[in-house]
Amino acid sequence: MNQLISLTKNKNFALKLMLLLLLVVLPWTVNNSSDDLKAQEITDDLSFYQINTCEFSLMEIIIKNPKVAYQKHFKIRPNNYSSYQCFGTVTGIDRIGNTFFIAVGTNALIGIILKSLALLLCFSVIKTHEGHINFLSRKYNSILLLSSIILTYGIYAEKRFYSKSLYFLNLEQLSSYFILFAFIFFVTFLCLEFVNNRFENIINFFPFMFLFVAVIGGLNLHIYTFIFTILGVYSLFEKQKNIYIYLSLLFIGPLFWIFNSNKFNYTLDLDKIVGFSSSSMNLHSTTYWSIIFFLTFNGLHTLIKKNMQNINLELIKNNFLISSFLVMFFGLLGANTTLFNFLNFYYFGQNKTGMNTLDVVDGNAWRGFFPSAETIGEFYGLSILLFVFFLLKYKNSINKLEMLFVGVTLFGLIKSNNASAFILLVIFSLIYYVSRNKHYQKQIILSSGIISVLLIIYLAFQGSIYSLDFTNSKIVQDALYYKNDYQQSSFLTHIQGENSQFSKIIIGLISTVSFYINRSILWGLFFARYNPSIYEFLFGTGPLNLSKHYSEIGVSNYDAVRNDTKNFALETFLLPHSSLLNILLYFGLIGVLIISIYIFRIVLKREYIDKFVFYPLMYLVINFIKGDSILYLPSFVLILFFLIVANFSVDKAKD
């Protein structure tokens, strides 16, 4: 913890804190109304606020109506589609039922500057060193220019998405892109300066990505996208290039994806996956997201490769605990205070506004601050797992601060209702304990075996173990149940008519696993929608793109036999709940096989990998199969970190 406290001793810490406070308070305060117009109490009659839009700053409204800040029936929502003149002001108040929705102007282009300044100011407490690349050298300038051009191209590639939030610019005109380039260039410059002066230290702080999610409202971008693009472009200038990554990521897949996407023009409402998924499927968006995926992967690969000796697992463990605690803390604050719910959303760059209640949703889970309860549950579990490992290894006493952090994180894990994260946390803690206590090994393994057998017998008597005939076909039955009546996906047609014994075993295995981990309906829905050509099945349709999957074949929630709905919330944006299925969409069967072989190799060579890396990686891989972690940048970076570090450990041992 001392390492973190030392961050506050950073030079200019007080000044930075002051600047940060100004950045948080000023935007919602300065844009006040004229003298002859005063804010009024919010009542059932909203005509005053509907006539006088963009007149009152959010602070004026809160001073006149303090209850807006904390009462649950007020909801403050950002309006990314507002003019710069309305920034920080109330652009409208509407009432739906008993809830008042207060829209606050948050212009997307002002947001990109404000948010990047706030985020980089927070991260500026990380220790600096001499610039990694010479300032304004040819390499520096090339990275700056190329990264800015790529990111500006992203706006052109997703014109339809941006035409709403950037309505004041004509995205068909070249001149509009000069304005956008200037804004993007500025943020790229800030990020490059940040990365260049902290290149050796930033990797240890990656767990804070779960707190500072950093999505820029109104744009399909994270601020980290700038950082990873910079790192990715930087890796292009490196002398020792990883030839395999270049071959597999740059040449083989993208060519097929780009040519294939030329015939489509699908779009997708991104909802909670905004920032790290394409909003459309066409030639340009596929090209752009292929480049971004390649740069993100290669950028992180290069950052880790260059800093293997700087990775400090204890500091990372502490950062996990602190960020878990803060995610919970701000989640609780946002759940109880309307104003903080809005400020959390804006400054932490959440993909989706945090929950405004402590109650779980649909008997399911409390996601709090993060868009996905399952993913944040995994994160909490991993924080505790790393803490347990350090505790078992060094047998240090737990101080009060750690106790608080672990307690709050455990509370978050329980509220997230992620049973598999909890079970895996227990299993991996036990495995690590056994591996360290050789003389109790037999007794522990024996007692664990007996407990497992007893548990299976108990479940069998409870009637929770079903026949293989039933579980093997459950996923196909669910897919058939939810498919629509007029169109059937090619994959469903194929597996229905499949006679090969091998395919039957694979489908049966997937179906049985999905049944016992409560995924059969969600995966069944995936197969009901999955409609690839043979080449798309082999190579995928390109990274970070779900547009075709969700737009091509619809599913139906109407049961004609019962003349009723099928009682599943199909109208909501239901994700596949398996990153492996997402990989099948993105990279096809070949992609799934490559990744499986890669992980299998790591498992085989596990003796060369630090247990503090290997066990968390296995914990994440198992969760990866049943979760959507690949769809969120923080969780994607999380698994990639452990995967790349494990891979380097194996390579190092081989050398």
């Binding site: 304004l136 004041f168 610019l169 004509n170 200037a182 260039f185 500025f186």
Partner: protein, 102 residues
């Protein structure tokens, strides 16, 4: 007759033999609808909107500062100025850093 390029962008090409009337000297001037002219929506700085139904009317409003984009003039000039400001910040920072002031 002198052709104005901004008018041409917003209102289309000048009709043959077009003569710009002197509206300022005639307070009772009435714009006649031109059925062949596709209606064009124009905005002023205050966000007021008008639909013009003839080339003459369109020309009159555009020459008076109206724009085809909502908040167009103000909004665009704000982003243009901000772009220049951002570029200047980068430039000044770079100069200061190069000269070891930072």
């Amino acid at each position: 007759m002198e052709k104005n390029s901004i008018v041409e962008i917003f209102c289309g090409n000048y009709p043959d033999n077009h003569i710009t009337p002197n509206i300022a000297s005639n307070p009772n001037f009435i714009f006649n609808n031109d059925p062949s002219f596709p209606g064009v929506q124009l905005y002023d700085e205050g966000g007021n909107v008008v639909t013009v139904n003839s080339f003459t009317e369109c020309e009159h409003y555009v020459l008076g500062g109206w724009d085809s984009t909502l908040y167009g003039t103000n909004e665009l000039s704000f982003y243009n100025s901000t772009s220049i400001l951002l570029a200047l910040i980068v430039l000044i920072y770079s100069l200061l850093k190069k000269s070891k002031y930072l």
